[in-house]
Symmetry: C2
Subunit: 397 residues, 2 copies
């Protein structure tokens, strides 16, 4: 058995982070700042690099990013995307298909190349530049979803386009990562055909997963017996969510992409209300812990003046490349300047995928502590900037 003490101290860390997240979310939303930033700040302030590392109770740090905490955070990422999927039927997704593909695709190409060339220009190695470029590609859908929910806009057309485009760029981001990792590992630059092949394979796998889940899940839900006890629909939805997320991982995709497909497959279900009521309560723990853990990964002491300079440049590139890469095509496609601006700013936040790519870069020895600190700082700051801009973009007449 896992040590009871470890489990309890882990769950206590989770509950404390969630509690502080909720208190700060209350303070922030009173000040007119998106509540999700409060949850993020809970991690920054009470994380192990800051206050959380200082408060020691009975020989343990009060808040540690132990395995239990990280497990909760990973589950959180999956559940947030599952919840977003519940807002979107497959028919709606198809309708938004081409548009979101263009917006998401351009929002991968521009950040990748601008991050890549900026890093080269700053005198870094080719492999380092590849990691930085890849880390800047994927939008943090979770942050975008959360802010849209706060604004009550997760079902409006711009919101849906944003979320779909963010799912597309997540799929493409994973494809870019696959290519970058193989370049970094083998040291060989792949041919144009190799890269294209990789991208196409991953897109095809994703589409197959999506269609498969959307076809199979409603049949599965209909098979549930009429005499089921309370909680059966909820348990079935949980199986669908994590089954699809696991399947995505087995296929080499990101689990959150699978969870989104699962949500979409259930969006037309008769039990949708039951499932929503359940997932809303479950998310009260799992969503804030995800945002708090993202915040907690910021180690301010790693930010030397060189790293800080790189951070500021990367931040500018990260924001502008999504603003232009997504906002411009979105504005043209929706024929609305306002929608273009909203979608552009909504797509600027980076998070989980970027942090994972930065982590791979660091642990494989491709990037040093300075570039890593600059990248992580960039991710966090985009998640601070994007919600504020997005909120003001929806508020302004």
């Amino acid at each position: 058995m896992v040590s009871t003490e470890l489990v309890l101290s882990g769950v206590l860390s989770v509950s404390l982070l969630v509690f502080f997240a909720k208190i700060l979310a209350g303070v922030f939303s009173r000040l007119g700042v998106p509540a999700v930033l409060g949850e993020l700040s809970s991690g920054i302030i009470f994380g192990p690099y800051a206050l959380g590392g200082l408060i020691v109770v009975f020989g343990h740090k009060l808040i540690e990013l132990s395995e239990v905490v990280l497990v909760f955070a990973e589950i959180g990422a999956v559940l947030i995307l599952f919840t977003a999927g519940l807002e979107m039927t497959f028919a709606e997704f198809k309708a938004a298909g081409l548009k979101s593909f263009i917006v998401g695709g351009m929002g991968v190409i521009l950040p990748f190349f601008s991050g890549f060339y900026l890093t080269l220009l700053m005198g870094h190695q080719f492999a380092e530049a590849l990691i930085v470029g890849a880390a800047l590609t994927a939008t943090s859908i979770a942050i975008t979803v959360k802010v849209l929910e706060e604004l009550g806009k997760s079902r409006d057309p711009d919101g849906k386009l944003m979320i779909n485009a963010a799912v597309v760029d997540d799929v493409l981001g994973i494809a870019v990562l696959a290519v970058v990792v193989s370049v970094v590992k083998t040291g060989m630059t792949p041919s144009f055909i190799d890269v294209t092949w990789k991208l196409v394979t991953i897109l095809v796998l994703w589409f197959a997963l999506l269609v498969g889940v959307v076809v199979v899940v409603p049949r599965f839900m209909k098979m549930l017996p009429a005499w089921k006890v309370e909680g059966t629909d909820e348990a079935a939805a949980t199986v669908v969510c994590f089954g699809s997320a696991s399947l995505a991982t087995v296929l080499g995709l990101s689990p959150i992409v699978g969870a989104y497909a699962a949500g979409m497959a259930l969006a037309g279900s008769k039990s949708l209300r039951t499932i929503r009521g359940y997932i809303e309560k479950i998310n009260m723990i799992f969503a804030p812990i995800f945002f708090a853990v993202i915040g907690a990964s910021l180690d301010v002491s790693g930010l030397t003046s060189t790293a800080l300079f790189l951070l500021l440049l990367l931040l500018a590139v990260a924001i502008l490349s999504k603003l232009i890469g997504c906002g411009l095509p979105a504005g043209i496609l929706t024929k609305s300047r306002k929608s273009g601006w909203r979608i552009g700013v909504g797509m600027t936040s980076r998070g989980e995928v970027g942090l994972v790519i930065s982590g791979i870069g660091l642990t494989s020895g491709v990037i040093g502590q300075d570039v890593y600190a600059a990248l992580v700082g960039t991710m966090i700051l985009t998640t601070v900037v994007s919600p504020i801009l997005l909120k003001s973009a929806y508020r302004k007449p």
Copy 2:
């Protein structure tokens, strides 16, 4: 970061076990058998010693009792007791105080000594007999609570007496375990004074924890700002639950005793309805996984004919000793034969604490595989017998 694949396969195992638990619970309750036995059977049938170990998908067993699964189960035990505590204010607890103390106390003494002497009689060692006796002391409160909830009786006087007595016997069970472990480790039989001292210390610690939590928690809840965002009360309740459980563990008590105190401290809170609504949804995952994991610990292949014989004797002793030890004093105290019978059968189930003690016995080399298998089998069978008897005790006019 923890490997995403491990987390996902763990959570998928959890969701599948919970899903099968719900399906079987539906079948069982249709047949008039307590639903919780369906959840237990889900573990027996789909656990790694049975079907779950046979179904292999992509090189992984579909259902494994991985660390993630065990973490969920441990959290489940804490949450079930927390939920039970929410049904009981401290005033009610005090009113039931002496009665539950007598019922719980006798329900520890009789099973301990009868298990101890039976094992000695069967030709086993002194240390083995101590472990067996200790393993039979603690009622599985979770099972009792669950069945009472199913019957809608968790707030009737007999139900409350049962739950309180089960909490008392849990505290005493931990005290017995502490004594037994020190005997087994040092090889010395402690003096009567040592044993008494140990028991008194643990009881005092438990009472101090209870009073402390009941005094501090309501003040804490009142400190929450009025402008809190949605989910703040729920997060605060989670902190209280796991904070108190952790505190209990630090004091050397069982975490579930702390969680029960936390629930009691919140039972009079203004936010009780909010907290109940939240915990009900959370428990949809965490409660069934706890029962499934208990079921999954049964390895039928370990039951040799000697072990089976010992199992049958232990089962008889386990049931009779609680039936008499708790039922008799309860019948006298409540002046009702019916209440005595109900409380007696309600207290016969054994679970988490007994399994932990058996596990300690096995891993420390005090008991062998045969005694271990017999003990685990006894625990599981009591959890099968008790709900059936309890249901019929409440149904009969």
